[in-house]
Amino acid sequence: MTFSIAYEAIDLATVRTALEDPACGAAVFFEGWVRNLNEGRAVDRLEYEVYEPLAISEGERILAEAAARWPLRRAVGVHRGGLLELGELAVVVGVVAPHRDAAFEAARFIIDEVKDRLPIWKREHYSAGDTVWVNCQRAAGDEPPVTA
């Protein structure tokens, strides 16, 4: 049950090794790749800013929540930090369980929570030359800064 942040290309072989379990028949992996388009704009590369102490502790809390809810034997998550090119892996979640129901449901839960809770911010670098912090541009309203 480890969650980590990688500043170089994510090593999938290490992820797979961490998941090997002779009692488990079902593995589900989610991978998020850098796309060449977001909301219609051509993207050249991405940049992730990560506040690592809290990203890791919150990531491991999410894995533990999943393990408490489903009969998982192992679960791993890795998120990239730094600059990423098109097609690079931004995030991987892998879980193994005796049966596929649990593996699918837990993998989905983990990636949803990771996107929602980890202190990680994405800046898109567009082909047009500008950059934008995703999710933040529409935030300049006058709502109070209240937690969800």
Partner: protein, 81 residues
């Protein structure tokens, strides 16, 4: 009663505030009040519905208080994945 805390801004908040961290003395009693106060200090800083706040590396509610010497982290809406 004034408290002195260190404040860190991340991502869009850092860009907007024009500062990544600062040491402030404040009469604010909740984190929400502290953020309000910092809005006044940094013209570019803005509110954000899904912003989060952490104290000493723990996520807490905006209505929570804080102590002298704490490290307060202001997180704009996250966008991992």
């Amino acid at each position: 009663m004034m408290k002195t805390v260190s404040v860190r801004y991340f991502a869009a908040f850092r860009d907007a505030a024009g500062v990544s961290d600062e040491r402030v003395s404040t009469p604010a009693s909740t984190l929400e009040e502290l953020f309000e106060e910092r809005l006044g200090a940094h013209a570019g800083l803005h509110r954000a519905a899904a912003a989060k706040v952490a104290v000493n590396d723990k996520l807490v509610n905006w209505s929570a208080g804080f102590d002298d010497g704490d490290e307060v982290l202001f997180f704009p809406p996250v966008a991992g994945g």
